[in-house]
Amino acid sequence: MAKAEASIQQEPPVAKKTGVKGHASSLLGRLVPFFGLIFVIAIFAILTRAPGQYLSPVNLRIVLSQTVIVAIGAIGMTVIIISGGIDLSVGSVVALTGVVTALGVANGWSPSLSILAAVALGGFIGLVDALIITRLRVVPFIATLGMMGIARGTAKWLGKEQTVNAPNTWINGLAVTFPNPPWLIVPPGVWTALILAVLIALVLRNTVFGRRVFAIGSNESAARACGINTDRLKLWIYGIAGLFFGLAGVMQMSRLTQGDPTVAVGIELDMIAAVVIGGASLNGGEGTILGSMIGALIMAFLRNGCQQMGWPSYYQEIIIGTIIVLAVAIDRQRHKLS
């Protein structure tokens, strides 16, 4: 009879778990990509047996100018991924906007106008993506997969399936290794990427728009219940990111000194990899511009190191693939701990 009296077990008021542990591990987590970068640089400095050369100003300049396109694209991609979205069309958009820049210059537009047209086109494509996602209720993966084909096809159409030659203007100097004037130290493209990275990092941290990007990625239905117009927010997110992809296309044209509709295939995957190595989650709600930039640099230093070693390109591909998997695995492990 006594056994039947299974009454409610009352818990004594014990101290609750506090957030201290969680904070420490998230700080550590943010440092992981940074350690990764230092590790990669150190490894190749040792492997090449010529740290002075690997870390020479010339080589650093080469690495930085090589990473401009991925870095600028990764800024836009970070915003999209934090919001819980994805964009697979970036490679095609870069090719298309590169062709548009070249066509503009070739048709006698001023370089500034050509750049403006390319950047605006990038933003327009982002808006179209967002309209497909919000109005037609197509998931971002599929919407941008479709856009990947549409933009690539349009680039080939505009370029008449050939590269578009453009007269030499200052655009060609945007991402060269040795800038003119030399006091710039690194090419204008690198400075542009740096300034934009700082700007968007501040926007994400300190503006209503930025915090809502995190909110929608963290819990979209909660954001909607709190009166946020999530559809309109997505228009802004993809539109702004598109501006960055357009600018990446300008840089692509600058490095090639011509518009090539077949270039940059799969570059979106490099950008996604940079963002993910930088600590963002493809489920949305987390990610930092600083992390994404470090992610882009890790891949650039790896590529450069492999070239310096004279390794074949398939080594790079295998190593970068491994790094992506490792970075995400470490991130998962960290989440499990906290």
């Binding site: 056994k3 818990e11 609750k16 506090t18 957030g19 503006t207 819990n219 954001a223 709190c226």
Partner: protein, 501 residues
Amino acid sequence: MAFVEISNIAKRFGATVALDHVNIQLQKGEVHALIGENGAGKSTLMNILAGHIKPDSGTISLDGKPYIPSNPTDARRHGIALIHQELSLCHHLTVAENILLGMESSVAGWIDHREMRRRTLEVLKTFPHPDITPESRVSDLSIAARQVVEICRAVASKANIILMDEPTSSLQRYDVDQLFSLIRKLKHEGLCVVYISHFLEEIREIADRYTVLRDGKSISTGTLDSVTNDQIVAQMVGRSVESLYQPHQHPTSRDVLLQVRDLQCPGVKNASFDLHRGEVLGIAGLMGAGRTEMIRALFGLSPIKSGSILLNGKPLSLKDSPATRISQGFGYLSEDRGGEGLGLSLSIADNITATRYSTCSQFGWIDLGKQQSQAMDWVRTLAIKTNNALQPVRSLSGGNQQKVALARLMHQDIDILLLDEPTKGIDIGSKVQIYEAVERCVSAGKAVLLVSSYLPELFGKCDRLAVMCRGVLSQVRPIEEWTPESVLEMAIGGIQKGSDQ
């Protein structure tokens, strides 16, 4: 004139009547308890008030003006905030960002961090919690602290009606006390709190007035001082046991198949029972009491902390996977039919044979003709409404989907059937066929563990019954020794009245 007048609100989902002309009046500065069994319509009513669902008919007036919210944002604008069982916070954001989400302080688009902090501290001053600072990340907070954040959000949005749907279901007693002092403060500030809970002692502690809902109808309303617990329980149960649930008796077998002793797992503090061949053992209890957690743990779907499981007297490992459990003769019918019970896009045949492909395959090669004909046998046996076993399960009605899920267990031909709410949300006709199928299994000497929230079903189908309350399983007793009232009291309070045998 009441602050909120809910008159004749009705809502149907397909053939199910969720709300049948409900009338409730809410006053300013009161805590109004909404009481009822699972499926009585409480949550539907809350969702209508919060703008998630539109009623089919009826009117609501708010402060004298007609009010039918078109969406959650609209409800929020009218000062109504819903606090769900599952909280809706952004875990990656800080407390301040969550509380002020959608109404951030800003200057030309840039967040005014100082102002955000000030506004958050102002709200937190009324509802202090040791772990919460404006800068804490929500993912680092305990469930109880998250609930405080959610309440603060409702207060910050100037809500004057706060709907709480079982807010204490995941809280410890200490946190419940904290929550109640918050609710009393809300009441003092003239807010109206609608409080849904199964726990009568909690309701007595916090609420002023109550309304009992049963089968979508408002049965009674009044002040809690004027009514006894027994009266409330009677109003909740009140329905006549339908003829569908004619009590039956299976010849009692003393052949113990499964023994569970002192089982402990997440959500379950202590559960012990014997399951005999040829019997239906019922597990009653409220939602969230730990019933589903218990059978999921038994089936290897969630980890077991301690205890022992003996099958035919031999101990089983506590770490076995569902695959091993299936080979040991367990079968599991999930409460979540669409989520984990069935592959909705797969065919009926694939679903039925999924746990026992061996009957229609050799060396991994499936004989599709055989698979189909076996599936069709079950389709006929269980009267599943289809003439094609290749039809995707998605295209069937809920009742027929459930029959497919049960057919899988029968095809599996196992000894122990763990059934979690097998007749939840399905029509009477399908219910009868499912009961018949269960009957067949029992007379074939199998053992059935039946988790159900529907008392007539438990009383009609079970040989013996135990009640789960807050993770503790009561003693198992023959069904004749229980009454609907004693089961409900046990489920609500965990105290067994008149248990002297």
